[in-house]
């Protein structure tokens, strides 16, 4: 039990020191965006983009791609922005996983405490809290690391890198009528 306490302390201290130095790089995602890191590879749509052109017009929606130096963004309306007129823009690639399901791991500990308290009170409580602390530390580690990853690309950093997150990363095929395009349901 003593060692267990020490171990939990060590884990806690290491966690604090390790993660305290880490910068959170992820940005909030728009409502309705559900694609996460894992499902990104099978997500057939373009990523969400928001930005402003040089005329101070905002645009948001799914990044469709480029045609003749014009960036196409689709939401309820079709946005056509000449590349040279993009003031700034940001593509949000995925929604960081929150790992809240990990809190289900606390259930066995709670059951153990409920069952164990009549058998000895403190031992069950201490063990239950220690285990729960360990579980929460693990969940927080997963949550924290998830937020360390960059989930966005800025136009100002590299327009070409941003454009590969479009629905048609090699450019919008000539035969596609832009007005016939349907946006992803969520946007």
């Amino acid at each position: 039990m003593v060692h267990m306490v020490m171990i939990i302390k060590k884990i806690g201290i290491a966690l604090v020191f390790s993660l305290a130095a880490c910068k959170i790089n992820s940005v909030p995602v728009p409502d309705g965006m559900e694609v996460d890191r894992i499902s990104l590879s099978s997500h057939p749509y373009g990523s969400y983009i928001s930005g402003m052109d040089t005329n101070n017009n905002y645009f948001t929606g799914e990044l469709i791609g480029i045609r003749n130096d014009t960036m196409v963004v689709l939401s309820q309306t079709l946005h056509l922005i000449t590349k040279t007129e993009v003031s700034h823009a940001r593509v949000i690639i995925y929604k960081p996983k929150n790992y809240n399901a990990g809190f289900l791991m606390l259930a066995p500990n709670l059951i153990m405490m409920a069952v164990g308290i009549p058998y000895g009170g403190s031992a069950a409580l201490v063990l239950g809290f220690l285990f729960s602390a360990g579980d929460v530390a693990g969940i927080m580690a997963a949550k924290s690391w998830e937020k360390i990853g960059f989930n966005y690309v800025d136009w100002s950093d590299n327009p070409n890198k941003l454009l590969i997150y479009s629905r048609f990363p090699a450019g919008i095929p000539a035969q596609i009528n832009l007005t016939a395009l349907q946006a992803e349901n969520n946007y």
Binding site: M4, M112, G134, P173
Partner: protein, 549 residues
Amino acid sequence: MKPNNLRKSIRMQFKGNDTVNYLSLAFLLLLSLGCSFKRVNRELTQVEEIKSNSQNNEYLKVHMKNGDVYLFHSWKVDKSNEIIFGFGNHLDYNRNLIETRDGTGSSPSEPKRIPTQFLIPFDEIVILETNQQGNNPGVAAMVLVGITTGVFSLYCSINPKACFGSCPTFYVYGLDVQNLVGEGFSSSISKSLEDTDIDLIDLNMEEGAPLQLIVKNEALETHLINKVNLLSLNKNDENRVFQSSNGDFHEVKDIENPLKATYHSQLITDFVAAKDEKEWFSLADTFNLLKKETLFLEFSNPGVSSGLIIEKRQTLMTTFLFYHFLSLMGNASSHYLAEMETSEPGLSKKVRAFQELLGGIEVFYLNDNGKWILLDEISEDGPIVTDSHLVILPLLKMPVLNIKLELNQGLWRINTLNLAVLAGKVEPEVHFPLQVKNNATNETDTIALDKLLSDGYLVTFPGEAYTLDYGINYQKDKEYFVESKGYYIEWMREEWLEDQNLQGARRAMLHPEKFLKEMALPFKAIEPKIEEIFWNTRISGNGTHGNDY
């Protein structure tokens, strides 16, 4: 007999369990990765440049010149015929599903499912897309910790009696935590078996810190505690004090490891060299719980009066037997236990007969004539806390002292077997509690104090704890023992009543040897289940086990 110790024993294993240590190590290693998050990365590749076939869990997006896309979860590249073929989904430029081919056949609820692969000529492909998901080391930490705690928690939920509680346990406030230092009168399962127990307590305290004992009832038991005193004995800073079988306390010095300790010709010296987290133990015999086994020890003969230090505790065998016996008696247990105190003293004898049959650790030495002589038998029950014993050896001429230990197979866990030079007898100073505090109310309990100082009994129920203040401070030049006296009454469990078999109980009392043979297989059936959770067992042949717990 030590009934509820199974729970406490298991609980104790958490303090140094290998699994837990490896778990924390793995966790710390993961943490040491710091901020090294492997970020998400999308790669676009010209079709002519594609190198490999599909890999595990990797999707390939094949973007077509007409805007369609194929999402392959497995694919192959035929470069000679310039074709990619694979299983997955075909979607149009608006990402509506056109067709699925996944090799599993068609389903009436889905439009088109064809168990053949898509074939895509290179010249229809505009570009290929792959995505690296990145990684999150924190997930591994979360899963590792979650599975480990989940397994322990579920085990303890299903078998709460195996995890929590025991007869009276003694804790001391260490540097910053409560350290379990002892268990009291483990064999005293009724008043007629009431006994005094004296245990050496290893303290990890700062010089001058107040010495207080916390007495806990952590079991489904009623504890009746007659006294809990502290004994202190003067010693040299570097020496130790141990109690011999006759009750004398001896200061010892020059503690030496065995030159060799063997079991079935295998070296076990490393397991018994020092009081640490390594213990030696063996598994019980499959057909007879009374089967004996032998350890052989060799020490350098110091040429002066010396003693063998044995530090050990019991396995869970006695706990299993006691629980089983109670379940056989079922709801008649209280009747029999009451009779033990009144008209049936013979029953007490039968209970003691069980203990005697299982036996203690017999210590033999090889005399100068080459004959094994029985010197002593160490027998103190309880699998929770390691007990310390000193066996005084006779003066012998041989350069090497040969010692033999005979013990019941699978009944003992031996932590230390050392030889020490006797530095002289010492007398204990007895410290009585000056103040008793009820931990639940955090208030002084003068009635409890009065009971501990008189012939009365402090009666405690599950979950209760008392802090005993002796008005003394820890000193490094003293050795401390806790002296406890009392007994306890095991509470019956509902599930035990289902197994009531009075004939079986009677047969066990009349023929304990036969009973212990019959119990071998049932015990073997649960022995690994209990052990595997809390011990990482090293099998070194002949059923010999050692562990770092």
